[in-house]
């Protein structure tokens, strides 16, 4: 019910992102989605890619601070109000979202999010028959 996401700890300085991207480029790894959130001093660069385990290993070998963890990815129709519907369901089940980001993939909206209440989130997803993406079908998309 979840997919792997890489989180790279980067300094908020010019050129830091390129170093990470070059490692992935040289290994022919395809980035599906990524986002950088920043504080004044450092940033977290979050990546969804087609070969997360390989990417994780390569980045670590390059001495880059990276962690791999599981996040939920839901597919929604690309029409107004879909995201609201999804998060209303989590909200009323009292599932707190730590962070989320979304992107379009072949006319479908994808919402990626992380929560501390993983079990409850799974329940909500099953109960509402939400269309989730798992690691296996990620590369098929």
């Amino acid at each position: 019910m979840t997919i792997h996401q890489l989180s790279v700890f980067i300094e908020n300085k010019a050129g830091r992102l390129v170093k990470v991207l070059n490692v992935l480029k040289q290994a022919g790894i395809q980035i599906i989605a990524s986002t950088v959130s920043d504080t004044v001093e450092y940033g977290l660069y979050r990546i969804i890619c087609d070969k997360p385990s390989q990417a994780y290993r390569l980045l670590r070998e390059q001495g880059i601070s990276v962690t791999m963890n599981d996040v939920f990815a839901l597919q929604i129709d690309n029409t107004p109000g879909q995201a609201a519907k999804v998060f209303e369901a989590f909200g009323s089940a009292d599932v707190n979202i730590s962070y989320m980001y979304s992107f379009l993939l072949k006319d479908k909206g994808i919402i990626v999010f992380r929560t501390g209440d993983t079990d409850k989130a799974r329940e909500v997803i099953s109960l509402n028959k939400m269309h989730f993406i798992s690691e296996e079908n990620l590369s098929e998309l």
Binding site: E11, T39, L44, R46, G63, S65, T67
Partner: protein, 438 residues
């Protein structure tokens, strides 16, 4: 009898160089004999094959062993006492974070002589019994508190033990008590001025301030001038260290051209920190002090680790006691920040307790808006979370732990592995960007 002189102790302050040498030779002989009561020195003399009879002139001080802070630590707590403990009335202790603390003992006479030195300094810069002296320095183990308290009282001033902090109350005292002189670390003076501005208090118009004693924290001539402009009064540089007694050891006269070190109380040497040989006047070296009047804990050739140079041995003020430049650095890695002495190893010890952190760290000292600040950058060992809240919590925990250790709140910055500079061989741990050693 009222003293109308510009000197509090004219018989000592205006001695000629010959008189100073003669007095020092006598006092050195007595001190060395007294040191025979200390097993540490007995042993040293034996190893070096010297006896008190070998010491006849001031220059013979060079035959004597050096004493280091480590020696004091190893003799913790009372191993360096030259008198029975029942004759001691006070002890001061430094923090023990880099090993055992150091303990400095005082007899009643030691305290009295210490107060005399401080009183002499304050008189020298123009303070008299009708002045009101506010000591805005930390009290307790920090000798800047009680040292100035006893000295200012000895001079006969109304003395306000305001201690550090609570700036609003400080300013109220200054106004209500008619404070004419303040002692504080330079960064705190700056803070006081900021609060005065916020409160609409004009130090020139609303206070009777006429003089500041600043010390215990390295500061540049520029900083001093800025402080003088802020408050519209003279600021005099004070030097002290608890091993000698505390403040009082050296002080600027009204010429503000170097600090007079009182040679009736100390023998001053400037040596090359590597070879331990004397350096010529004017050249920078490590300050080495021998006490001449201490009863409880005489110290021979104590290596202060402070770097300075001799400016001269005469002065238009009429005092021929050696004049030394403001401290220009350290021959060890100790940092002095807002009056607090900090060794990098203290920081390191704390950082290494966090399993999330790697081994590389960098301490940067800066002056921002006249305040000295410390930034500690430290590398993460492994990325352990994708959650900001966890990173921020780690940041907070580190800051808190460091504050408990060094008593100041540093700015902690987490950085990725491999981003901190590692120099060839020894890692650079401290970058001091403050313009204090100029």
């Amino acid at each position: 009898m009222e003293n109308n002189s510009q000197y509090l102790h004219p018989q000592y302050e205006t001695m000629s160089r010959e008189e100073i040498s003669k007095l020092q030779a006598e006092r050195l002989q007595a001190t060395v004999k007294h040191c025979m009561n200390v097993p540490f020195y007995q042993q040293k003399f034996k190893e070096m094959g010297i006896t008190p009879d070998d010491i006849k002139t001031v220059d013979d001080v060079r035959k004597l062993p050096f004493t280091t802070k480590q020696d004091l630590r190893e003799s913790y707590p009372f191993g360096m006492a030259a008198v029975p403990l029942r004759d001691c009335v006070r002890l001061h202790s430094s923090s023990g974070t880099t090993g055992n603390p150091t303990v400095i003992l005082h007899t009643k006479r030691d305290l009295d002589e210490w107060a005399n030195q401080v009183a002499r300094n304050l008189w020298m810069v123009g303070l008299r019994p009708d002045d009101v002296f506010q000591n805005s320095s930390g009290y307790g183990m920090f000798t800047g508190g009680l040292g100035f308290q006893y000295g200012a009282e000895k001079l006969g001033m109304l003395t306000v033990p305001a201690a550090a902090g609570n700036s609003l109350r400080q300013i109220k005292f200054i106004k209500d008590f008619g404070t004419t002189a303040i002692h504080a670390v330079p960064s705190y003076v700056t803070r006081l001025y900021e609060v005065m501005q916020e409160q609409g208090v004009d130090p020139r118009r609303d206070t009777k301030l006429k003089m500041l004693a600043i010390g215990a924290e390295p500061h540049s001539e520029e900083q001093r001038k800025r402080i003088e402009e802020m408050l519209g009064v003279k600021a005099y540089n004070s030097f002290g260290m608890s091993e000698m007694c505390g403040p009082g050891v050296g002080f600027e006269c009204q010429e503000q051209n170097g600090l007079h070190f009182w040679e009736d109380y100390y023998i001053v040497e400037i040596v090359d920190p590597e070879t331990l040989q004397p350096v010529p006047d004017g050249e920078i070296g490590e300050l080495v002090l021998t006490t001449l009047c201490r009863e409880a804990m005489p110290l021979l050739r104590y290596r202060t680790r402070d770097l300075t140079r001799v400016l001269g041995r005469s002065c238009p003020c009429g005092r021929n006691h050696i004049r030394l430049d403001r401290m220009r650095g350290r021959s060890d890695d100790m940092m002095v920040l807002r009056g607090v002495n900090i060794f990098p190893i203290q920081i390191e010890k704390i950082l290494m307790n966090f399993k999330e952190l790697g081994n590389n760290y960098l301490i940067t000292l800066t002056t921002d808006n006249d305040n000295d600040n410390m930034t500690v950058e430290v590398e993460l060992a492994e990325m352990f979370t994708d959650d900001y809240a966890r990173l921020q919590q780690l940041n907070k925990d580190i800051t808190r732990a460091l504050k408990d250790e060094i008593l100041l709140t540093p700015r902690v910055k987490l950085v990725p592995r491999g981003t901190l500079p590692v120099s060839e061989g020894k890692a650079v741990r401290v970058v001091d960007k403050r313009k204090v050693y100029q």
